[in-house]
Amino acid sequence: MVKPGTATLKRRVLRHWQLYLIVLLPTIFLLTFNYVPMLGVQIAFKEFSPVKGIWGSPWVGGKQFNMFFTSPFFWPVIRNTLILSVYALLIGTPSAIFLALALNEVPSRRFKKVVQMTTYAPYFISMVVLVGILNIVLSPSTGIYGQFAHLLGMNQIYDILGQEKAFSSLYAWSGVWQETGYGAVIYLASLANINPELHEASKIDGASRLQRIIYIDLPSIRPTIIILLILSVGGLLSVGFEKVFLLQNTLNLNASEVISTYVYKIGLVNTNFSFAVAVGLFNSVVGFVLVFATNLLARKYSDASLF
């Protein structure tokens, strides 16, 4: 084996010059829209003035962060963000696993296909349409909820979309409705990879269906579960802006203001860029640390990790 010295490296690069030409265009995109914004993060430590620009604005150190940490919005915003994402994760993951395990037990291929086609479909509905459907279906006067409430003679019919207390459930369960079918696909794929001999052998040994699910299926998809969990933990603070923003209204604002909607309002609506970038940076850094911490834990205590 030739040691990859400078001469061979140069030859390798020259020989494959076309590859570098091909990779140039996407690299420009990557740098422009992913890495240049990272340089812009410095305005979190500056007092941004539009006239002086990102580089010319004066440094102010941690002032913006102090303002955020002592702001009356700090804890409510963090709390709301965590409640929404943890709630969604805690019911979303088990639902997807349950659906996958159940589908995996069904002998009828036709039934399986119908269930999969149906449960998978809402994933392709846009957030705007999803929230539109929620508005219609949960309407206290005309929607499915209102109709059933009247039919059952319920005394109190709530305006669910305007309820502070109902917001987290609304967010999490509409997510279950929309994403469980999609989430199950990944688990089904890893269930399909299980060696059938394992099942055959345990059947001969007299294991019941439930035992096979618990002792064969679940351990087999454990690495997939762990990897997806690590990824979701990294995203805990970046709870989906698109849905929260649309579901937000003045009545539920106390429960629905999350970091991303807060950044949007401070930054793009009130144009207080420096403060908004500080909040956003806090969000990114915590997310980054969380991914690594979870990954470390996963590597230490289980057989799967992301990197």
Binding site: R12, V13, H16, Q18, I22, V23, P26, T27, F29, L30, F33, N34, V36, P37, M38, G40, V41, I43, A102, E105, V106, F111, V115, M117, T119, A121, P122, I125, S126, V128, V129, G132, I133, N135, I136, T142, I144, G146, H150, W177, T180, I186, A189, S190, K203, S208, R209, L210, E242, L246, V263, Y264, G267, L268, F273, A276, V277, G280, L281, S284
Partner: protein, 300 residues
């Protein structure tokens, strides 16, 4: 073999299977019911809808909701805008994905690790909303079509999926053979790789197209002229903000009589109409998305 299993099926197993069927049946109905309700309502009369008479099938069938959609100009402008943004954006996205994924999938490409790390780091860490916005502003893209196409064009996740596909299904021998025949790197990409990757290209395109069609966020922050709004922002106005701009409907005297019908049913029919493109593609999407998820699941 099946026979043997069925004989051994115990009482407990059969109970479990019954439970599984019941649970899946319930889930399917719970997922499908709201959709069926919206579709049926869109074909009913506004009196039936407002009176809570629609349970499953349309009541007093009418088409006024759809007539309203056809008369609502903003919806059609939005539809057209969305088609343009989705078509251009997804084509560019697929091109960029392949141009990035192919070189870094090649072992002979010196420096591929640098690119892989650049991609992974950008996936885990971002500058956040405001710096991203400022970049687009400084490039003078705000309020232009380009703001809808360029900033989101490179999808890192797609690059990683395409890279693992190229690595796992384009054998190195093939490349070496082509090289001996005098095929260049670019020639190999165009003549061999693209020809062998049609399914994965379809996945990437559909992926990107569904994402572009459904997104509203970039349009919300980058556009200010309502005439350039994509469909989703028009829908947001109607469905979420409850603003039905009746002035934009040009109605005949006959239609004016059914104005209330049209106003009420618009919300229901617009949901159906806006979902049609994705609905038409759904069988393909379903087939290819599953494959795409599988490809993504293959680890190096």
């Amino acid at each position: 073999m099946n026979q043997a299993i069925r004989i051994r099926e115990s009482w407990g197993d059969r109970l479990l299977l019954t439970f599984v069927y019941a649970a899946l049946g319930f889930i399917t109905i719970a997922v499908a019911y709201p959709i069926i309700y919206i579709i049926s309502s869109s074909f009913s009369s506004s009196a039936a809808v407002m009176g809570g008479k629609v349970w499953f099938l349309p009541v007093d069938p009418t088409l006024y909701g759809y007539a309203a959609v056809f008369k609502y100009h903003q919806i059609w402008t939005g539809y057209l805008n969305s088609i343009i943004y989705t078509g251009a954006g997804s084509t560019l996205s697929v091109a960029l994905t392949i141009m990035m994924a192919y070189p870094i999938s090649r072992k002979t490409f010196a420096g591929r690790n640098i690119f892989v790390w650049l991609l992974l780091f950008a996936m885990l860490f971002s500058g956040g909303l405001i710096p991203y916005y400022l970049v687009v502003r400084n490039l003078h893209l705000l309020g232009t079509v380009w703001a809808m196409i360029l900033p989101g064009a490179l999808s890192i996740y797609s690059v990683i999926v395409a890279k693992s596909f190229f690595q796992s299904s384009i054998p190195n021998d093939l490349y070496e053979a082509a090289q001996i025949d005098g095929c260049s790197d670019a020639g190999f990409l165009v003549k061999v790789v693209l020809a062998l990757s049609k399914p994965v290209i379809a996945v990437l395109f559909l992926w990107s197209a569904v994402g572009n069609w459904n997104s509203y966020f970039n349009a919300l922050i980058f556009l200010n002229d309502a005439g350039m709004y994509p469909l989703q922002l028009v829908l947001r106005e109607i469905l979420v903000n409850n603003n039905v701009d009746t002035n934009s409907m040009t109605l005949s005297a006959e239609q004016l009589k059914h104005f209330e019908d049209m106003r009420t049913l618009l919300k229901y029919s617009i949901i159906v109409i806006s979902s049609i493109p994705v609905l038409i593609l759904y069988p393909f999407i379903q087939k290819y998305f599953v494959q795409g998820v599988m490809v993504g699941a293959i680890k190096e």
